[in-house]
């Protein structure tokens, strides 16, 4: 069969990531081999971008079938939804790989570096398999590989007990989630008789309502665990911060999105909506994740943990859009459903861009200063101008300020909430417009949080010697960050570039919808805003202004020190005070020595955010499993006669089963 260029490109991408690069890296330790491998990864992903873009506009679905070589049908296919996520993976992978060139070189010896790149490449492959799978088997293989490879990448960075504990939690939660995903696939099996996506889609309307509900809930929990929605987010702030920065960027920027992909595939493509409480469940999960995620983030001063919590927040915003879309779908408003879905998918794409940029920035900071504790940073903007400027662009994007990409998707989400007021269903009519307030609060808190992050880390005076002597990141790291920043700005100012294809995707996923007017409005007005602001900038910058450097006013003190600046902790204090019900801080003050309370030699103050609700939620469950395991241990006596008895009893039971089945 002659292969079309698109198919050839896709197979080339798979072959490069899956075989060529790992083989090359394992076979040879030479620096030249590594350079070739990196070039192949970047080239392969660039081709992947083109393949995705071309597939998006094709009528037919591109299908690559490997079923001949595998025990179960294993086929990869690219329809519009897959093409969007393939584009997302490849677009983010290129700058992250470019960043990683210098990052891996500076952090690992040659052998470890080779392993890193091999795993990096396979990790990308596993995510591509997940989003392009067109059979359940292929999907689950990719899903499992994705978890294991990312855990491997985390463990390669180091091997301390704490790290192993965090990876353990990560793996346990991922497998609990994966079990739910497997179950939701298998529930289709009695009706479709195969796990082929086409077959599932064809029969899904005929599946009984009870089973549909079960499938939806299992998919919601399974994909929600991967996406990190609250209360399934426990692993996220543990696993993301300890990975190497380029890997964190991929995990937060891309891996979480595969869960969004899976959920959209199930909820919209397979099930095509459901009763209205589906929508409310998703909406509630989104609101809770958004609010709690950003509130936890603002209390952090470890940069990567803070960013991990912001992933929870942004997944919450995506779920708000998805929930709204499901609600509209139930209420027979396909046009608005498609608007909300477009908003959610665009936010997915945007989040991939700015969150990976933020994690790369955190990597550049830790590379230059050997810390990611905000309280130890400061004044980096003047020492690392490119890192700082790209990081600022990412901050503006994640906050959702106009002219940056995050705004476009948040604006569309806002407008879909507002559109809820035209529904005839009374409950939705009130709930959806009120969600505007929730999203506004999330946006306001995110703005406060990123003023803190950028202000404390990059502006003002340096708070430590490391920050004082920081030097700008090497070329490849800067190039990676600049590419992502440029993408954020491009989508922010010319949103039509992505909105146009997304509207056609909306029409495919939600039959009967047209082109929502809002997508055209925003694409028209944003360039005007850019022109106005740019005009003001030009007018105010043009006149010659004289400047003089004078020391900051120090209230009469001759010398201000960096310790006199506002810190990250004190900046967030008012907000933590107002929302103290959420944090429930556990404060301890110890005065030493204890017998002289009024003349202490030293005072220790400790404030820990308690995780009482997490304990209340997870502890009983974990206790149950542990006690069940204890009970089960009685079976394992270690006595061979008992095991023979088990085998005998099993045999008898099976024979009896066969006998009675006839």
């Amino acid at each position: 069969m002659p292969l079309a260029p698109v198919e050839l490109g896709f197979v080339f991408l798979l072959a490069v990531l899956g075989f060529l690069v790992p083989l090359l890296l394992i076979a040879s330790q030479a620096k030249r081999a590594r350079s070739l491998a990196i070039a192949l990864i970047i080239g392969g992903n660039l081709i992947g971008c083109f393949v995705a873009a071309l597939c998006f506009w094709r009528e037919s679905i591109l299908l690559v079938n490997f079923s001949r070589f595998t025990p179960f049908p294993f086929a990869l296919g690219i329809d519009r939804l897959s093409a969007l996520f393939l584009l997302l993976i490849c677009t983010v992978a290129v700058p992250v790989a470019i960043f990683a060139v210098a990052y891996f070189d500076r952090h690992y010896d040659a052998r470890r570096c080779n392993w890193m790149w091999a795993f990096f490449s396979l990790f990308l492959l596993s995510m591509i398999v997940v989003v392009t799978a067109s059979t359940g088997f292929a999907f689950l293989v990719g899903w499992e590989l994705m978890t294991l490879l990312s855990a491997g990448l985390i463990l390669m960075e180091g091997d301390s007990a704490e790290r192993r504990h965090n990876v353990f939690i990560y793996l346990v939660m991922m497998h609990a989630g994966a079990a739910a995903v497997v179950a939701s696939f298998f529930l289709f099996l009695p009706y479709s008789h195969s796990l082929d996506f086409g077959a599932i889609r064809a029969v899904s309307a005929g599946v009984p309502a009870g089973i549909r509900t079960l499938i939806f809930l299992l998919a919601f929990v399974g994909f929600g665990t991967k996406a990190g929605i609250i209360p399934f987010h426990l692993w996220l702030p543990r696993a993301h911060p300890i990975a190497p920065s380029p890997v964190s960027a991929l995990m937060s920027g891309v891996m979480l999105k595969t869960a969004v992909y899976g959920f959209v595939r199930f909820a919209f493509d397979f099930l095509a909506g459901g009763p209205s409480w589906f929508g409310y469940v998703v909406l509630l999960a989104g609101a809770a994740s958004g609010l709690l995620g950003v509130l936890y983030a603002i209390a952090e001063h470890d940069l990567k943990r803070l960013l991990a919590y912001h992933s929870v927040e942004n997944i919450g915003i995506i779920y708000l859009g998805l929930g709204t879309s499901l609600l509209f779908l139930t209420n027979h408003a396909p046009l608005w459903a498609s608007l909300a879905l477009i908003a959610a998918l665009l936010h997915t794409f945007n989040h991939a861009l700015f969150k990976s940029l933020l994690f790369l920035g955190a990597g550049a900071i830790s590379d230059a200063t050997h810390t990611i504790d905000l309280e130890e940073l400061g004044g980096l903007q003047r020492r690392m101008p490119i890192t700082g400027t790209t990081f600022l662009i990412a901050c503006c994007s994640i906050v959702g300020l106009p002219l940056f990409n995050g705004f476009i998707s948040e604006w569309l989400t806002f407008r879909s909430f507002l559109a809820g007021s035209v529904l005839t269903n009374t409950k939705a009519q009130i709930v959806l417009p009120l969600m505007v307030g929730v999203l506004a609060l999330i946006g306001g808190l995110a703005a406060a949080c990123f003023v803190k992050v950028f202000g404390v880390a990059f502006l003002g005076r340096s708070r430590s010697a490391e920050a004082e002597h920081a030097v700008e990141a090497p070329v490849s790291m800067r190039a990676g960050m600049a590419m992502l920043a440029a993408a954020c700005l491009l989508i922010g100012i010319l949103p039509g570039l992505l909105l146009h294809p997304l509207t056609s995707l909306g029409q495919v996923l939600i039959p009967g919808s047209g082109v929502p007017e809002e997508t055209l409005i925003i694409a028209r007005v944003i360039p005007w805003i850019a022109v106005i602001i740019l005009g003001v900038v030009v007018i105010t910058v043009l006149p010659k202004r004289t400047q003089r450097m004078v020391p900051t006013w120090g209230c009469g003190l001759s010398q201000l020190t960096s310790r006199m600046q506002y810190t990250s902790t004190v900046f967030s204090k008012p907000i933590r005070f107002v929302f103290s019900a959420v944090y429930r801080p556990d404060r301890k003050i110890e005065r030493l020595p204890t017998d002289q309370p009024y003349f202490p030699v030293s005072i220790l103050y400790r404030s820990v955010r308690t995780t009482s609700y997490e304990k209340a939620l997870y502890r009983p469950f974990v206790d149950l499993i542990v006690s069940a395991a204890h009970q089960l241990r009685r079976l394992q006596t270690g006595n061979i006669q008992v095991y023979l008895l088990y085998i005998f009893l099993t045999l008898v039971a099976l024979l009896a089963f066969l006998r009675f089945q006839k």
Binding site: P402, G443, F458
Partner: protein
């Protein structure tokens, strides 16, 4: 012609802003039995500051220098949204109120960063307090506008104003009263007025906006002052356009525009008197009472949204 009027409206909002400040200052002085400065004083201040040199702290980066410019740019873009003498404005039919609120956030974000760049405690202090106030003000701001938008069945400001123009003033709904209450409270918080912030104070324990502008001087300070004046004026004009647009010119003729302009001046004057009375008659709230103040605004605006269901025509 229509575009010319739109440009004129934006110019009124931008150029008239210092005058609004001057008049409010004069009114407050009059209520407080002081002599008071001339109402043209803010213009003189701006001219003086623009001629001076910029003093830049040694720790500052380009963010410090750019912050006032972005702030002014974003605020001027906001001014292009607000109708004054006719029911449309430069961007009012294209952009909606979400864009307006987020443009204000853009300016505030950069000013807060500029405050951090000075490297003193006061900048961070001002930014931290501003973060608290604006975080809590954003939800009631948007919800109040959502309530009006639901009634008008339009999200663009021109559509909302046109709808209100067609209504009878005496037939106004409870939604409008609730939305106006919450938005008025939010405007006080957003523009840094009593009882949330004191625009005339330089006491480090109380200042919010002034704390952020403390390290700025010369032309940069002029841009910040001008931007905050434009913001105040635009917010007042927005309240007028949404809740009392009657008298706006429906046709493009010199007479109609003139009448509309006079009526607009009268309405702004009324709001300025109200503002001066509130500012002279109230003490500034303690920092941790501000969340309660904005909590009330949030509750009122949420009620406004819920009530839209009951009065929908």
């Amino acid at each position: 012609m229509k575009i010319a009027i739109n440009v004129l409206q934006a110019l009124i909002l931008i150029m008239g802003a210092p005058l609004v400040r001057g008049i409010i200052g004069r009114l407050k002085a009059w209520i407080q039995r002081r002599q008071g400065a001339s109402i043209w004083r803010p213009y003189a201040d701006l001219a003086k500051l623009l001629r001076k040199e910029d003093l830049v702290p040694p720790s500052a980066s380009w963010v410090f220098r750019c912050a006032p410019i972005v702030l002014l740019g974003a605020t001027i873009a906001v001014a292009a949204f607000v109708p004054v003498v006719q029911s449309s404005a430069l961007l009012a039919s294209r952009g909606d109120f979400f864009l307006l609120v987020y443009l204000l956030a853009l300016g505030r974000f950069f000013l807060s960063l500029g405050a951090f760049d000075g490297g003193s405690a006061f900048g961070g202090m001002g930014a931290s307090r501003e973060a608290l106030v604006s975080t809590l003000a954003e939800a009631p701001f948007l919800l109040g506008l959502v309530a009006v938008a639901i009634l008008a069945a339009h999200a663009d400001i021109a559509g909302m104003v046109t709808w209100t123009l067609q209504q009878n003033f005496f037939n106004i709904s409870a939604v409008h009263i609730l939305a106006f209450t919450s938005l008025a409270m939010v405007v006080l918080a957003e523009t840094g007025r009593m009882p949330v912030d004191n625009p005339t104070t330089h006491l480090e324990l109380t200042m919010i906006h002034e704390g952020m502008a403390l390290e700025y001087s010369g032309p940069s300070l002029a841009l910040i002052e001008w931007a905050s004046a434009v913001k105040l004026h635009a917010m007042l004009a927005l309240l007028i356009a949404l809740f009392g647009p009657w008298g706006m010119a429906s046709s493009v003729s010199v007479g109609a525009i003139g009448v509309a302009l006079l009526l607009y001046c009268a309405k702004v004057a009324l709001l300025m008197v109200l503002l001066a009375v509130i500012e002279s008659g109230m003490a500034k709230l303690r920092m941790y009472l501000v969340p309660d103040f904005l909590g009330v605004a949030s509750a009122v605006s949420a009620l406004a949204v819920i009530f839209t269901m009951l009065v929908k025509r």
